[in-house]
Amino acid sequence: MIHKYKLNGYGVVLDVCSGAVYCVDDVTYDILDYLEDSVEENIDKSIIERLNGKYSDREIREAYDELYSAFKGGLIFSKDRCKDEVGSELLNSPIKAMCINISHDCNMSCEYCFASKGDFGCTRELMTFDTAKKCIDFLVVNSQGRRNLEVEFFGGEPLMAFDTVKKTVEYARGLEEKYNKNFRFTITTNGILLDDDKINFINKEMSTVVLSLDGRKEINDKMRKTLGDQGTYDRIIPKFKRLVELRGGENYYIRGTFTKNNLDFSEDILHIYNLGFNKISVEPVVGEEYTDYTIDKDDLGDVLREYEKLLKIVYDMKKRGSNIDFYRFNIDLKRSPCAIKRLKGCSCGNEFIAVVPNGDIFPCHQFVGEEKFTMGNVNAGTFNGELKKAFSEMNMYKKSKCSECWARMFCGGGCNANNVHYTGDIKKPYSLLCEIEKKRIECALMLNVALSEQRT
């Protein structure tokens, strides 16, 4: 299976199963219209006849011969060998990552917050240090065979429980040598409570920081408000700048959300860049029911066009040497993950879990509060291995639409929580998000193609 498209004047061909990516000229692009899943040694005369008015006989034959040698080398129309060869490895894996919802409370009140104003629809609560310790112990015990462990401090607003964050990090560091583990901590914050002490601790201990900001002041302040209904832009920008500067501009993301209010979100990304932040992730708002700001299928055309517009902007900037890094366009083909990783896709409930202040365990932060997805409790020492097994089996081949999709090796089969929430079936991806994801992958591959052309 191949996928081909043109973007910004580049013809791009992805060989889905091998992962090979090509930049092709027009004649090759057009020949591919007449090839289904193989390339014969000798060109079918009807192909030449159909393309003759457009290209010379020699051009067509040359391009065809190149396609044939790629085919012989197994790099175009390659077969899906993964299913047979790595299928057996797609089973239960050790739990190696945990989202600790250290605070089910928030000092902001964002219109679109999926955590329902910080409390995830439950009571406002901060996690005790005792429970946080049990989280770390749980991870150490259940991560047999894995050295690198990830802990994400999430909320609500995790800085509201910063003492517990600090103590938890110190506790975990104290276990690293004994158990041969390497903890990587990350934190997501709205920035309101940042001060120099917190910034220094974060910059010393957190391998990644996610800073929430939506972009232009009027866009940010319309959705991201304090409890007193004030905009937050002016308060957080200086703090984010200081944090990023003190960490040398590395390993952070400014994380924004776009809604119906800013379908021109490329402006927000540029705004964030012009503030001095080059690592930017801006994602569509997803909501369970349609609201006046939720992206719906009527917006899809605008959203896809905006990604293309953004691609042109990012491409031009990169050509001029800019270091802009837009998360969704950032696919590093040289260091891409192995097939098993791609086939597993979403790690939730299997390698990754979320724990809330009372110790309850969920497959991920997006399932928090849903009783039928409660996996156990770290304080009670309970864990539902059957539910974990069910999640571990949720790989791409179980999702019929995904196993036929050209984007599968980059998308990994979507977000399991979104599937459950939007289609009611974990195996069925939500088509609106599929279209958005496919466009972003096309953009990211085109950037790889264009920038490699520039280098040659």
Binding site: C17, Y22, E66, D332, I441
Partner: protein, 53 residues
Amino acid sequence: MAHLKIVNGSDLIRCTAEGGCGECQVSCQSAVKTSSAVANQKCENKAEKSKAE
């Protein structure tokens, strides 16, 4: 080749034979938080190798 330029080779075929080590970052496809989506992941082995080089 003049008509067909490869930007990256048959990465997935090579990886299929080797199998996964499981040490890379977990993936979160929704990108709500700090984990990467599969497309943005970086292979831990390749990272180690390039550091060593």
